[in-house]
Structures are given as C-alpha cells and as structure tokens.
Symmetry: C2
Subunit: 147 residues, 2 copies
Amino acid sequence: MRRKSLSGAACPIARTLDIIGDWWTLLIVRDCLRGMRRFSELQKNLGVSKNILTRRLRALVAQEILEQKPAADGSAYQEYHLTEKGRGLFPVLVALGQFGRENLPGRDPNPMTLVDKKNRQPVRKLEIRAADGRVLSPGDTLMTRLH
Amino acid sequence: MRRKSLSGAACPIARTLDIIGDWWTLLIVRDCLRGMRRFSELQKNLGVSKNILTRRLRALVAQEILEQKPAADGSAYQEYHLTEKGRGLFPVLVALGQFGRENLPGRDPNPMTLVDKKNRQPVRKLEIRAADGRVLSPGDTLMTRLH
C-alpha cells in the first residue's frame, strides 16, 4: 500500500511524517543516537533484513538525516553518522519513549531508561511551555498564522 | 507488507511506534488535539477514505487513545474524544511539528505555528533537560537500567 505523499503538506507534522516514512527509519535514528555506526551493528540490533535496511539507510542519506563516512579505525567499512538535521529528531524519539514508558508498560520490571550521563538520573519529562515559561496543555494552544 | 509487531519490545519507543501503526493515526490525533470530534470533519480535513478512517478510529478506540461519546449537541452523531492517554501524545506531535518547521520548509511563507492562546506567541522549542535543569544533547544521555 503506497502512502499518499505529504511532502508538500502545509502542516509541518505531516511533512516530518512524510520523510520518516516508516517505523524502521525512527528505530535506525534511535540506534544512531545511541552511537551505532555500522551496517552490521544496525542489522543485528534491529533484526531487519539487509534489503530493507539498505533501502532505509539510502533514504536517510538522501534526506540528509545520515551521512556516510569512512570508518574511524581506518578499515574499509563505511560508517553512518547523524547530521545536525538528524540529531534534530532527538526530541521526537524522547517524546515517543516517554509516552511508551508511561502508557505501555513492557514486560521488563527494570526497563531501560534515558538518563543524564553525568548524574545517572532520568531526564525530565518533556513539557510544552509558553514563551514566558508556563506549562501548556493542548487546550492552551492553538495553530495559527503569526502575521 | 505486514510490519513485525513491536508491542513486546523492550524499548518504549518501539512499543509506541507499534500502537501508532501508521501516519494516519498521528494525523487523526493531531486533528483531535485541535478540537475535531466528528467523523465527517476528520474525513474532510485528512482527505482519507471512509474505509481507512473507520479502521484507524476503531484501532484508536481499542488502544484507549480515543473514546466515543454521544454528540454534545444532543444529535444522533457520535463524537471522538481524546482520552488522557491520547492527550499524552501531545509532546510527540509538538516534536514532529518543530522538526518539520526547522528542517523541512513548506511552500507557505507564513506557515501555521503552534502558539500559546493567551499571548499568541509561539511555544518554546522542546529541550531535553536533566533533573537539575541542564539542557542535554544526545551525547549527554545514555539508555540504562536504573537498578
């Protein structure tokens, strides 16, 4: 089933969903944010076919979310590095993870948690804040044109 | 192409992606956050077939993201309301929208923006913060078990 393209959509949410394309893409970005760089690592961790992974990586490079670089150790491997644009997906992944942790309990009694490296404390829950710092609920916000 | 189920995944990001299922789902939640409640409104705004919308709404009710209620105006219509769990997807949608606005410019020179109703100022950019308030980049964080 081919999706309708949303790349020209007026809504920036729809445009982002369009480039993400499918869930493998976000799971690849998740693993790259955690420091994975090589095809074989990604394939092993994701349990995805080489064929699908190859296509998704190519799309991510075309979208400038990832870039290919020679391996840091001087071997013949190519590595995949997140670009600055790719690192911009960090809040999307944190938001998805926090929703899952709160609403969709897994089977693991001691689940993996995103922590601050320095203090080993969980990161704060994401909040939507006004320019003056007030925490906003969905009903406190509005989509509008600024001018 | 049937996706592999990620509902039992150890990673809460993967579990969230599993229940979201496809992009229509998040666009339905987006419209419900903006106050849409009726099948006909959603269908018109999303430009999706009745068939697909019916299936997605049924899945969202089954996941307890939406609940059906009689129309507030006493008519025979059923309305779809976000549950508290459903409203928990607000940060996911804000994160997707902010990424799109920064990285995927649309054709509209004066695009729709999420603002605070009170002051009509754009909401702040989402930041990942440590328990003590420091802003964290991906490299400052780590996935780990707490105990």
